[in-house]
Symmetry: C2
Subunit: 213 residues, 2 copies
């Protein structure tokens, strides 16, 4: 009944998936050990195979779930019918927040896709995920109407995603280089939730910039 709410007595299968998520997200497919996942879940290793047959299938379950968390939200927000700048602001804020809540998610996904690009292509096609053409068109139209500078929509989209995701993926690098404490880093990322949108909008706004050339 209230199984979603009460966390204490999860079924074994769910406990396994939780544990697998923790381990796979932090160590990746190659670095994860079935025994470690079993320990994390507090159950016998044989149960992993009982419920998920093999390491690969358990991994696939985790990976699918991760893809399902990263992409649909992009699709959803970017499909709103609101002015471009508002859309950018909402997207940036929500996406950075999402990444901060799941800090290992983007690195995990990027890494595993790099390692098995084929698997990703299949899954992506199979799930029917598609990047919202709406947003692409938004940018194109705004550019044509002269509301923003003339920019290849793909260029802008990649810039937006890069600014949201990179600082999360590279967290330990940034912390290391600038000797930031965990708190420093958190403050920094919180500021980004709104400043990144400013940065982007500043860049594509017309103002008095001498249009083409």
């Amino acid at each position: 009944m209230d199984s979603q709410i009460i966390n204490k007595e999860k079924g074994t299968e769910a406990k396994i998936l939780d544990a697998a998520r923790n381990i796979f997200h932090t160590k990746g497919l190659a670095g994860a050990r079935m025994q470690e996942i079993a320990d994390e879940a507090g159950i016998n290793k044989a149960m992993l195979h009982y419920y998920y047959r093999s390491k690969e299938q358990l991994f696939d379950a985790v990976f699918k779930e991760a893809i399902g968390r990263i992409f649909p939200i992009i699709v959803q927000i970017l499909s709103y019918e609101i002015p471009l700048f508002d859309k950018i602001r909402i997207f940036v804020k929500e996406y950075i927040r999402l990444m901060r809540e799941n800090p290992y998610l983007p690195g995990f996904v990027i890494n595993e896709i790099t390692q098995h690009p084929d698997k990703f292509a299949n899954l992506f096609a199979e799930k029917g995920i598609e990047f919202p053409k709406v947003f692409y068109d938004d940018i194109k139209n705004s550019a044509e109407k002269g509301e923003i500078i003339n920019i290849d929509p793909l260029m802008l989209i990649v810039n937006i995603i890069a600014l949201c995701i990179f600082p999360v993926v590279a967290k330990p690098v940034i912390k290391g280089i600038y000797r930031l404490t965990e708190e420093d880093y958190n403050d920094f990322m919180e500021k980004r939730e709104y400043e990144v949108a400013d940065f982007i909008i500043n860049s594509i706004s017309m103002n008095n910039k001498n249009g083409d050339k």
Copy 2:
């Protein structure tokens, strides 16, 4: 004598390092196999241990080299005494080019630092690498003089790095989502070598923007 120039008859130690670089960069520490490295080098597995003692020490050699390739160049370019905008243009162009030439390098480094942050910190301190304060000050000064908008230097620096590195790290994701061919992707990245600087400079330029709030 001319050992550096002629590439055909490398010493065994160098062959091992080359092979190890290939394998570790693409598969990471956990995913790499000593046998595979030996095969790639065309030598016996025992030689890996003969020259480098253990997998970990071989990995360290590769990792150190990678750190040495990624950071010193940043430091160097960002220390030039030239106007800020020129510096940004040169840096972006050179850095994107460097990343494209070593496409697995940034992902490898980020990933392994995430997995062993401690090791990175040590190495970083030991090598005495330090992020150029000059550039930080450049930004701060330009902001104070009103030549650019008021922005936290760290924020800008992270944005610049993100825009350079992310599209390389996430190459298979971008290709997958937008169904780009290798050629499409290359064209895209070539465009970025100069457009990214425009994007950044646009964003921080004063123009007629009504300064503060």
